[in-house]
Amino acid sequence: MRRTLAQSLALYATVIFTLVMILFPVYWLLVTALSTTDELYRLPPTFWPDDPQWDVFARVWAAKPILLWLWNSMLAAVGSVALSMLVSVSAGYALSRYSMRGGATMGLFVLTAKMLPATLLVIPLFSIFSSFGLIGSLWTLVLAHSTMIIPFATWMLKGYFDTIPKELEQAAMVDGCSPIGAMVRVVLPIATPGLAATALYAFVLSWADYAYARTFLVNSPDNWTANLGITTMQGEYVTYWNDIAAASVFIALPIIAIYLFLERYLVGGLTAGAEK
């Protein structure tokens, strides 16, 4: 379809206008971080600071245990993703390859688990973790995040395994492979992109959690995750918006980087179920 010059210009103008509108909040976060406090508390607002305070990042990094928060978020995410993938890969494979009694029930269950509000599940989990003396430990997050990850990961992986022809394993088994060997040596290598997509998406889910971290870890500052840590910077009387904005940049950066470089995988995960 050929466009006239006027149509092209209109299209580009619309795209650029929309992009500016959508990305403005992210730009504003950066401007806020780089402004002095005086500039922030002044109207009209300055759309680019007169004297950008680049040292705000070093200052906040030194003043707040941001590295520790990021590290805790990373531990919780890696732990829950590893645990969930371990059980989800084999479950997804089983659901894809073997017709089992209760397969349909499993589907219905995944649906229900997807609707389960975290604010409901957090209540019994709190009692359970208290009685095991786990409150304050990062293990609570590993388990709690697994409740979000396992149902969707199992179903997503089943979808990926479904796209791999059964004949491949049958050929491997004719050549003397055991069923497990065929799964590990033939199917899993082919499914690597699917596994990566699922794991990445699960990682983002875990990284975004706030409800569980707030409930289980609020009294253990050493185990605060990035999201929990940053909310504690919001003061009761005075909030230093430039400091919070600078810390936010550190915390958003890992996920934004994953998104920019691995978007193809993430989107594959998001849309996996919808196109069928």
Binding site: T119, S127, I128, Y259
Partner: protein, 308 residues
């Protein structure tokens, strides 16, 4: 005799045998089932059980209180619950409508072929990658009562004479939450719709063009019907997200002022961890889950399978 028994035993564990293969299936699925039973099903049963007990702070293994429906009675007769239902309904409608409107239009926009389209597509869905808490930090500052950008803009554009009290005015707080949620929620709709749009064969459009269909007719009679299944699923997933969201509302307004932004989700959490009424909290949570299930089954009907 022993020989045959042993042979039989060996065969029993020979998982490559076709008649034993379903056994392997059960073995492979067992760890997931056990995990799910321990961290989802059991807690869910505990929560349902809690909702039928008059209990403040439950202790696991302690004697459970007698069965009582008092939590539900309290709920249905309290104004707070009905207000939370109303707030949730308003927010779900506004945010879902906003997200679908912005998401669908951005998807249609980047579905055009143009130079730099990949970058535009990445940029338009970027808010999806911004963690909810960080989105709240940005918007909380933009909605600041004294020096926020939005208040200043509203004055500049002539909507109002003075800064808007986003925190203390019920209406303003509701819209602050809604706008933040739309910004965070529309990229998902956009990503899904774009995937749906790209799966529509271009032959359809070419054929319609030969037949002289206008661009509006092509949109109305090709794009919309073929996009409907994806859009339906996306709509329900967005709706469920708004229904259950905790972090955006909790950090932005805390459910206030005067509970004007307190959704069922926030009410569940606060009943448990602020007022230490775990029984009541569980009752609100269980009802939220029931409403979610009924709403999505009603909306998706027979297509509900596609939501997994």
């Amino acid at each position: 005799m022993t020989d045959t028994v042993q042979a039989g035993r060996r065969k029993f564990f020979d998982l490559a045998r076709p008649s034993r293969q379903h056994l392997l299936g059960y073995i492979l699925i067992a760890p997931a089932v056990l995990m799910v039973a321990a961290i989802i099903v059991w807690p869910l049963i505990l929560a349902i059980d809690l909702s039928f007990q008059q209990v403040k702070i439950p202790r696991l293994g302690g004697a459970s209180r007698p069965f009582s429906v008092s939590n539900y009675v309290w709920l249905f007769s309290s104004q707070e619950f009905w207000l939370a239902c109303w707030v949730t309904l308003k927010l779900v409608i506004v945010v879902t409508a906003g997200s679908v409107a912005v998401g669908l239009s951005t998807a249609l926009l980047v579905n055009n072929r143009f130079e730099g389209r990949t970058v535009a597509r990445l940029g338009m869905a970027l808010p999806w990658a911004v963690p909810e808490i960080i989105a709240v930090v940005i918007f909380a500052w933009m909605f600041d009562t004294s020096f926020g950008l939005f208040g200043w803009l509203a004055i500049k554009l002539g909507f109002t004479g003075q800064m808007i009290p986003w925190v203390s005015s019920s209406t303003a707080a509701f819209w602050a939450v809604a706008i933040t949620m739309v910004w965070k929620g529309f990229p998902f709709v956009s990503i899904m719709c774009l995937a749906g749009l790209q799966s529509i064969p271009s032959d359809y459009y070419a054929a319609a063009k030969v037949d002289g269909a206008s661009s509006f007719q092509r949109f109305r009679w090709i794009t919309m019907p073929l996009l409907m299944p994806v859009l339906g699923v996306t709509l329900v997933l967005t709706l469920l997200w708004v229904f259950r969201d905790f972090s955006i509302i909790k950090v932005l307004t805390g459910g206030g002022p005067l509970r004007s932004t307190q959704t069922l989700s926030i009410m569940t959490y606060d009943q448990a961890f602020q007022y230490h009424n775990f029984g009541r909290a569980a009752a609100v949570g269980v009802l939220t889950l029931v409403i979610c299930i009924i709403a999505s089954l009603l909306m998706l009907g027979r297509r509900s399978k596609s939501i997994y």
